[in-house]
């Protein structure tokens, strides 16, 4: 748990948008894997990274007073809700093919990163 809290702090700080960029890279990997290889292992690894980064962003943004474990869990739950909501919007507006699915991931990452930034700046001031 000690190691996890270190990782969490590092990701939540998001120096120079490093982890936001990492999240965008995982989206690219997921997109390429979906259209070219369809390797489940690659998809699982990329998804875990995606969930870890964005879950920590959201946990940090909304539950900064909670313990690490609950922050991660709440962050994960909020991320699932956000993915479902943006995906639902995509479905009712048109559909959720591979391209729109990638747009959904992109939008969700952007929202998570901005939420995290907002809290970071608020705490700094």
């Amino acid at each position: 748990m000690f190691q996890l809290s270190k990782v969490e702090t590092l990701i939540a700080q998001d120096q120079k948008f490093l982890f936001t960029l990492a999240s965008y890279v995982t989206i690219l990997v997921i997109y390429i894997n979906l259209n070219a290889f369809q390797y489940a292992v690659l998809g699982i690894v990329a998804s875990i990274l995606y969930f870890l980064i964005n879950g920590i962003f959201l946990g940090h943004a909304f539950f900064d007073k909670e313990d690490t474990f609950f922050r991660l869990m709440f962050g994960g739950l909020l991320l699932i809700m956000l993915l479902g909501f943006v995906g639902w919007l995509a479905v009712i507006i048109y559909n959720l093919d591979a391209t729109r699915f990638t747009v959904v991931l992109f939008v969700v990452t952007t929202i998570c990163s901005l939420s995290n930034r907002k809290v970071k700046y608020r705490n700094a001031t």
Binding site: M1, I30, N33, L34, F37, Q38, Y39, A40, L42, G43, I44, A46, S47, Y50, F62, D67, T68, F69, F70, M73, G76, L77, I80, M81, L83, G84, F85, G87, W88, A90, V91, I92, I93, Y94, N95, L96, D97, A98, F101, V104, L105
Partner: protein, 634 residues
């Protein structure tokens, strides 16, 4: 000799390792139980599974009562929870034969990009019904399943089957923990509550099937937690999260959403009462009473107004009073659906949890009545009122309304009741254990010791210096045994036995491997639009592979035309009916699927021998138990 701190830590680690090993072994046994042809999970479940699960649970409960880190305890509960909610998904090839297969059929349409603007392919009717359709939980759940399936690059059937068991397994125990902690601030009783949510059979069942409502229950539970927080907090984040979870409960399913908003209204009323009672007590009480009534009637009234969306015709009626015998009416009021054909054991397992919770709530309220400054007083009153509202709503829907069953079974309200009951059951049990330990501690002879972690140990030697009466010694040993051994075994037994009421004992034959194989084979080998004449079971299998109501791969049973064609084909299989099906659906190839377990051996042999004369055998599978015949136009 009392154990040292180090020895105790070592014993705890050993228990944890043993528990994890037993849980891993249980997963292995569950996978070994996987079958392609069964009616219930109990037919094929490995005989060692339940004993191993019981032992694992018996080890887990004492771990929860130690001073181990809360996060670890919750992780152990999560693993246990995922295991007990995965029976259908692991054992059956296509999960439970229920609404979850229909939900998968709709998800498949979105996954395969067959439809636009949502999973319901029915034609446009009116604007308000379109809004209702889009907000219907099928789209939300489908989009979540499709996103996960694309992220992981695995077929949507796997994601769909495990979506709710995993999400429920992870998030519901945490919600139970948080809700109980909001009532007691005690970590041990809260983790016990996270585990005890699995003693409620109906909640376990909904955690095991992937339907939109199950997702709604999860969001509802979190909205309930944030409501409790909101009662004593003015934090804007708490308010935002309470509203967000209520909204998502609505997005996932109508019932969970309306219940969440009913309780949201109640929360606001309780909070307003708390601030107004100092200035004007009578008006505040009156406002609160009116608010409680509004919260209670919100669900029944909202169901009536569903007709505005052109969706369902639900109305109030006294028909049941005139139609049913008086005994049945009284039975419905007291036990609801349980009066219809449930055995005593199942009834007991379903009602015992809520009954304990209700009694404990009443006891706590009695105590709080004498202490107006008690810390969790408002929370207790709120939850007690919410519990009563759910009990009342269930009876209104069950006895005074008609048409509700078109939308959902009234018994689905039991899950809300169970969510509120779980923390109180944990509080009651924990209070029982604590009282017993306090009693033992107060009366323990000098060389019978109770350690700091509240784990009671007894030195086996009879005291030499001080003579303890034999009767007292026996009584003491009995109580000691009760608190340290009997309670964990009793709770583990209760949790394990509850599974027998959660998973049905009687069911039709589940979708078999060869039914799935047949519909996959047709889909792979046909490059054009086609129609399939089949029974409802094949139709479910077909919808899971090609999507619900897919216009390019039409599975024909649910309509009257489809049913008539099936009856004609089973009586006198001939190209004439195949042509009718093709003309009806504007296709050029038709298939007829018949399987032995669904039709019966004699009828199956008869149909197959007749069909062989006039139709082409397209595929045979399931060791000859399923035949696919084809006929092409022209």
């Amino acid at each position: 000799m009392p154990l040292s701190e180090q020895g105790r830590r070592r014993l705890l680690r050993c228990s944890e390792i043993l528990y994890l090993f037993l849980i891993a072994f249980s997963f292995y046994l569950l996978i070994l139980s996987r079958t392609g042809e069964a009616r219930t999970v109990w037919e094929v479940l490995h005989p060692a599974f339940i004993p191993v699960l019981f032992v694992a649970s018996s080890i887990l409960i004492p771990i929860l009562l130690t001073s181990e880190k809360t996060a670890y305890k919750l992780l152990f509960i999560i693993v246990h929870s995922i295991l007990i909610h995965s029976f259908f998904s692991v054992i059956f090839p296509a999960g439970d034969l229920s609404g979850q297969q229909g939900a998968l059929g709709k998800t498949r349409l979105i996954y395969d990009n067959v439809v636009l603007h949502g999973a319901d392919p029915l034609p446009f009717r009116a604007l308000q019904s379109e809004i209702f359709k889009r907000f219907g939980g099928a789209n939300f759940q489908a989009s979540l399943s499709v996103i996960f399936a694309r992220m992981l690059s695995i077929d949507v059937i796997w994601v769909h089957l495990f979506l709710v068991p995993v999400l429920w397994g992870v998030f519901v125990p945490i919600a139970a923990f948080l809700t109980t902690k909001a009532l007691s601030e005690d970590d041990k009783v809260s983790v016990l509550s996270g585990l005890l949510i699995s003693v409620f059979p109906y909640a376990t069942y909904f955690g095991a099937i992937s339907v939109p409502q199950s997702l709604g229950y999860i969001f509802f539970f979190y909205s309930l937690y944030f409501m409790l927080k909101y009662l004593t907090s003015n934090d804007s984040k708490t308010t935002a999260l309470m509203l967000a979870f209520s909204f998502f409960a609505l997005l996932a399913h109508y019932l969970t959403g309306v219940m969440a908003f009913s309780l949201l209204f109640l929360t606001i009323a309780f909070k307003a009462y708390a601030s107004e009672k100092k200035t004007s007590s009578k008006i505040a009480r009156l406002t609160l009473a009116i608010s409680i009534i509004i919260s209670a009637i919100l669900l029944p009234l909202s169901l009536i107004y569903l007709r505005f969306f052109g969706a369902f015709q639900i109305f109030f009626t006294l028909d049941k009073f005139y139609e049913l015998p008086r005994g049945d009416i009284i039975g419905l009021f007291l036990l609801g659906e349980l009066i219809h054909g449930f055995d005593f054991k199942t009834i007991l397992l379903i009602v015992i949890g809520p009954a304990i919770a209700l009694l404990w709530m009443m006891y706590l309220l009695y105590r709080f009545k004498r202490n107006s400054t008690a810390k969790f007083r408002v929370h207790m009153y709120f939850l007690f009122t919410a519990f009563l509202i759910i009990l009342i709503d269930y009876r209104i829907l069950k006895v005074f309304m008609k048409g509700v069953e078109e939308l959902f079974n009234e018994e689905r309200l039991w899950v809300f009741r169970d969510f509120i009951a779980a923390p109180f059951v944990a509080l009651a049990i924990f209070a029982g254990i604590s009282s017993l330990k306090a009693f033992l501690k107060a009366r323990s002879p000098p060389n019978l010791s109770i350690d700091s972690s509240k784990t009671i140990r007894a030195c086996s030697k009879v005291p030499s210096k001080r003579v303890v009466p034999r009767v007292f010694g026996l009584l003491f040993t009995g109580l000691l045994f009760t608190s340290t051994v009997f309670f964990p075994l009793l709770l583990a037994g209760w949790m394990t036995t509850s599974l027998s009421a959660a998973y049905p004992q009687v069911a039709p034959l589940q979708t078999t491997w060869y039914e799935l194989e047949a519909v996959k084979y047709i889909e792979e080998k046909t490059n054009e639009k086609y129609v399939v004449i089949c029974d409802v079971w094949i139709m479910y299998a077909g919808e899971m592979i090609v999507g619900f109501g897919n216009p390019s791969a039409y599975y024909f049973e649910s309509s009257k035309t489809g049913h008539d064609l099936l009856v004609n084909m089973t009586r006198e299989p001939s190209p004439q009916w195949m042509l009718s099906a093709m003309n009806y659906t504007n296709t050029t190839v038709a298939y007829f699927i018949v399987s032995e377990p669904r039709l019966g051996t004699d009828a199956f042999n008869n149909v197959v021998s007749k069909a062989r004369d006039t139709l082409t055998v397209f595929h045979v599978t399931g060791d000859g138990k399923l035949y696919v015949f084809s006929y092409r136009k022209g």
